[in-house]
Symmetry: C3
């Protein structure tokens, strides 16, 4: 579900769960583990990439819908672990957003140090609210971190999906590249950043990211409780069942698209 | 002094105290009450608008000058209540800045979720300092929230009045519209935002605005004490008497302007 | 080493330690004292300027390399005192960045209220990490203050030196001016800001800068301990000896340049 490709000191972790890289509990658990073991495996920087035309379609709602309360709570822990592993990674991580990146996919990208997105008809955004799921506090932390309080609030509350150009303008992503060159662009960013001497890089990243890391760790506990409570309320289950139906249509379309594109 | 216009689930609260919508204690008390009762009256979003050519000329200094210490302190409470009612509103509020919006007028606009301003020869800004009134902490909170720390500091300290284009560039407002279409533009923003399911919208706004709400509530107590102390010092009273003279000239000019424009 | 030029209520403090205004402990001690005594000497605003073609080359590493642990710790105190004197100055300070401004030079500029930089082939940036020195927390505070969390993090971690245009775009500086007009532009900013009544200006600056002042005061203690520990580790001393060799070449080049330019 995750492929590691080693280019010297830069390792690429590619999300590889067709057709849309839906974030299942297993994939998320593996992602957290792969991020955390990367320094020991010789990496000085990471690229987190997805598939052609789709970075990740977000959390795997059909799988989540089948879980009982304990199972759902554990699945959330895996999601939050993956976010925390990225945010608190000992080495820098560049997100190569190879295509669509809604909801959970956008959250993983926001957890990285730097983001480059494929040009073209792709979208990225925190559209959770549009389907009735309130934005958790740790996601708001990430959005406000990259886009500032005014724009970050807007992104969370409106649930708007942004085009690559719009995402660049508000700082949701840091650069754009042609679809076939996104992973290479992320690799180049990694090459530049590891020119900084290793100890100074690690110490400086800790200084500037510590407040974010602490917020994520503080907020994930309440976020998990609130989301779990909400997940089993009848209104949300109805909305989720509709979503699953839509997703099935959407996934087919996206899967075709990623074959065509 | 405030007119409520009901367009389905979107209610417009129009400041209606000619000639310049000066913010008297009565108007502010009514504004806070109208904002707070809006959800119970069936509103899912609010537009806060002003008159043609003038959103609000700011606090009603001539009226404030006639108050004793207790009266002034109560007037400030009404101002801060109006700010807090907007910031902590259970439903989103779009400011339709229909014209000039200095000082207290700008503060009300900054307390809303989103701002659209009329194009043309209008200005908006925190010009309190220019007439000798230090910016209270809760106003600095609002300015830094919308424009970031560097630009927010600059806006508070310089007291600069901005043209619509300048206001858009620094994020003081989010959009511009022709003078006759400002209220409609604010209404459209409301229509889009209430597409978000009600519970998810309310919960997400609480998550992203809670820190601001808490700052406003924490700072208003000290702000009220400092401003009241200052208000009765001889230097400030001299400056205020000058201002009242200027305002009388300015108000006539603006009243004429709003008839012409 | 510092020349005070008095233009009415606006005083210029010019760094004057050829060839590159390297920040020696003596110069920094003097700078902190000169900033602090300026209100008593009749100044209502300050311009902090450097030499033609070079604002400051940063900390005087060759001098620092000769100090023992106590001496180094005292030298750091002088650097942090100068930063704190600028950040917490009772009157506004405009930085006239007359040329190159790497590392410690950039930090002094960031400590001021407003920055104008000379157009041309100059650079500014927090390149400490590139030579193996982690960015101290109080420097990260300053960078995030002016550029926001996302861009400020990037500036600290990458150690990138920016052209004047790049510095303007990210907010590292607020304006550009032709090389010969930088000091005048800073003076004009001062003239405008002192139009704000004295008490309102001071009180408002305190309100909007207090959080930054408190962060600097809180972080400088740990920063001093960490940097001192690090300074006497063998890896860093090796890197510093290389740097001193490079600096000697660079300084000659810059000194020639400042004669030519």
């Amino acid at each position: 579900m995750i492929t590691r490709m080693i280019h010297g000191e830069i390792h690429e972790l590619r999300l590889d769960r067709p057709p849309v890289n839906a974030l299942s509990p297993d994939l998320l658990q593996m992602l957290a583990a792969e991020v955390r073991c990367s320094p020991d495996r010789g990496a000085r920087a990471l690229v987190l990439s997805g598939g052609e035309g789709i970075f990740s379609g977000g959390l795997d709602v059909p799988v989540l819908m089948e879980l009982d309360r304990d199972g759902f709570a554990r699945a959330l822990e895996h999601f939050f672990d993956a976010i925390e592993a990225l945010v608190a990674s000992a080495i820098p991580v560049a997100a190569a957003i190879t295509g669509h990146s809604p909801a959970g996919g956008a959250v993983l990208a926001l957890s990285c140090d730097w983001r480059v997105m494929a040009e073209g008809g792709f979208t990225i955004g925190l559209n959770e609210v549009r389907i009735g799921i309130p934005v958790p506090e740790l996601v708001a932390d990430l959005a406000i971190r990259v886009a500032g309080a005014r724009v970050g609030e807007r992104l969370c509350v409106s649930g708007q999906l942004l085009s690559p150009d719009e995402a660049l303008e508000v700082g949701f992503v840091d650069a754009l590249a042609p679809a076939g060159e996104v992973v290479a662009a992320a690799g180049q960013w990694c090459e530049q950043i590891i020119e900084v001497p290793e100890h100074a890089l690690a110490a400086t990243r800790w200084v500037v990211r510590r407040d974010l890391i602490e917020k994520i760790r503080r907020h994930r506990v309440d976020d998990a409780r609130h989301l779990t409570d909400m997940w089993f309320q009848p209104e949300l289950r109805g909305a989720m069942q509709k979503l699953v139906a839509q997703l099935k249509k959407g996934m087919s379309a996206k899967a075709e698209n990623s074959v065509d594109g």
